[in-house]
């Protein structure tokens, strides 16, 4: 009896799997192209938008895109990529967890002749990839520093970093480069804010305790800026502190309209996704593609926030 039940359950488990199965092989008439994309995380609207842009282009061609989430886990990312390689993907888009640690996967893809296109955050071994598509992160940092200098030329700034990520390193470099042009501006400290709301809040609170003179913050993205804002609000200091950041997410713009965030250097994730897919097709059609594709950023403040939202809604 028990044996029967357990056999029944085994069959049941397989049934569950069948139920959740992937595309049935018959559904596609001609086996068209298969692309794979691997993100460091999909727990961030930025990457969801980026993926939507990519899908848009690939759908037009009637091809398939397999989207995988590496959950900030380099080992999972490595395994995800080798799955795509061995499945014979035509091209793989990678948003690396670890910009050095991805090397083994890039070598594996190169050996199989599968082009890798890096999106959003760069990799160290650029000779192993077809091209990299990313926002102009250095410029995004510069824009943030300039926006800050306009309202607070004597800013005493703290930076909430995500220092494992090269895109964020570039933003901070751009910010520091521009900030150096304003003699009154001073960077008090740089701390890890993890690039998330949960990470930004406690760090901001600690920094407020350590530096009572803080009057500006540069968190490297919208989520950590929102975390910092909530810490500033609960300390009753938001009025005296100017927050500038990089991203341009819906939540970030909403914070600008509510007067809590001064500016965000907006990125265009959908454009990044589209450009990446378009360059993959160009390459597969035998065309030459540039090594670096830089998608411009745009400063959003209270002045143009409404306009920006409208543009985003109409899906420009």
């Amino acid at each position: 009896m028990r044996r029967k039940l357990s056999n029944l359950l085994s069959v049941g488990l397989l049934g569950i799997l069948m139920g959740c199965g992937g595309p049935t092989p018959e559904s596609q008439e001609k086996p068209s192209r298969t692309f794979g994309v691997v993100y460091q995380t999909l727990n961030n609207p930025f990457f969801v938008d980026l993926n939507a842009g990519m899908e848009e282009v690939i759908d037009v061609h009637g091809d398939e895109l397999i989207t995988l989430d590496s959950q900030f886990n380099s080992l999972k990312q490595k395994n995800d990529i080798s799955d795509l390689i061995l499945q014979g993907a035509d091209a793989i888009f990678i948003n690396p967890v670890n910009w050095e640690g991805i090397k083994g996967s890039l070598i594996q893809a190169k050996e199989k002749g599968i082009p890798c296109i890096i999106v959003d955050a760069p990799v160290k071994d650029q000779n192993l990839v077809l091209c990299q598509v990313a926002s102009d992160n250095v410029e995004a940092g510069r824009l943030a520093a300039r926006a800050l200098a306009e309202v607070e030329p004597e800013a005493k700034v703290v930076i909430l970093h995500l220092s494992v990520n090269k895109a964020c390193i570039d933003r901070v470099d751009g910010f520091k480069e521009e900030a150096a042009k304003y003699p009154g501006m001073e960077i008090l400290d740089t701390q890890e804010g993890e690039g998330t709301r949960e990470g930004g809040r406690p760090v901001m609170r600690d920094l407020l305790g350590r530096f009572p003179e803080i009057n500006a913050v540069f968190p490297i993205n919208d989520p950590s800026a929102l975390g910092a804002i909530s810490a500033l609000e609960s300390a009753g200091k938001l009025e005296n502190v100017t927050v500038v950041t990089v991203d341009g997410s819906q939540e970030g713009i909403a914070a600008i309209r509510a007067g809590k965030l001064h500016s965000t250097s907006a990125q265009f994730p959908k454009e990044i996704g589209k450009a990446a897919a378009e360059h993959a097709y160009k390459h597969l059609n035998g065309e030459e593609v540039p090594k670096d594709v830089v998608i411009p950023v745009e400063l959003v403040t209270a002045e143009n926030a409404d306009e920006f939202l409208k543009e985003a809604e109409t899906g420009s």
Binding site: C20, N73, S74, G104
Partner: protein, 317 residues
Amino acid sequence: MKTAVRQLGPLLASVVGLLLLFRIWVPNFLASENLIDLTQQISVNAILALGMTLTILIGGIDLSVGAVVALVGTTAVFTMASVDESMSPIPQLTLGILAGLGAAIGIGLFNGLSAAKTRMPPFIITLATMQIARGLALRFNQGRPMNVPDSQTAFLAIGNGRVWEVVPIPVLIMVILFAIGALLLHGTLFGRHLYAIGGNRLAAQLSGVPVVRRETVVYILCAVMAGVAGLIHASQLYSAEPASGEGFELDAIAAVVVGGTSFTGGIGTVHGTLIGAIIIGILDKGLNQAGVHFSLQYVVKGLVILGAVYLDVVRRR
């Protein structure tokens, strides 16, 4: 023998079933290269699960293994990168590995002694050492990844090389460790002692099993397995990543319980764990390659773990 068949039968059947099942959606799923890749993908988790099997078998648990993966990788790579440059690669490598495994033994010794000699639950002890090991790993290079020196081809081969161009070296290491583990657990007095402790600690103690010594050794072995996994992991990433290994302990526990080891201790096998790791590996690979939406993958994996454990409970009743 009979019990072994009873335990392994359904597990092996699920392996075959899953392989054939994914073959439906993924035409080249059973291609030799894809299968070799599968064994390579599971190697880190399987080695962690091997150590975890021992701790769960004696009624304990080790949550620190994921953090130990990071600590050992960073310690080894830091050591290799900071020794005198005139030193040739092999002694450099030896020093790095010794330093890394030394760190693992330190954590394991602490876990083991605390678990064996105090009344603190292993869950809490290793929850604490998980934080400590993670913190120590993040001390290196301000928490940023550290590159393995290019001259260290021997170290890079640990995770990326192949024997006779076929068998990945991490797989070879995994197989050797599992063979040793199986001999130790199923063929020696030491192994029988572990079952006795897991079955009933007090009874084992009263019948003369050196409980404190055995428990301490088990936690050290578990940490050393995590150390070996950490070396492979760092080699595969060409760098040591202080933030890596997060959540690895949970994947290892999943492999152990899917493999039929009882969470309350006293029951379980090494080969069961290997099959458990293989099942989870097939699921990961199959769901990825079949293009199953990543959100559904979590659900399916959760259901499979639940189902496997339920089956196990039913069979034992």
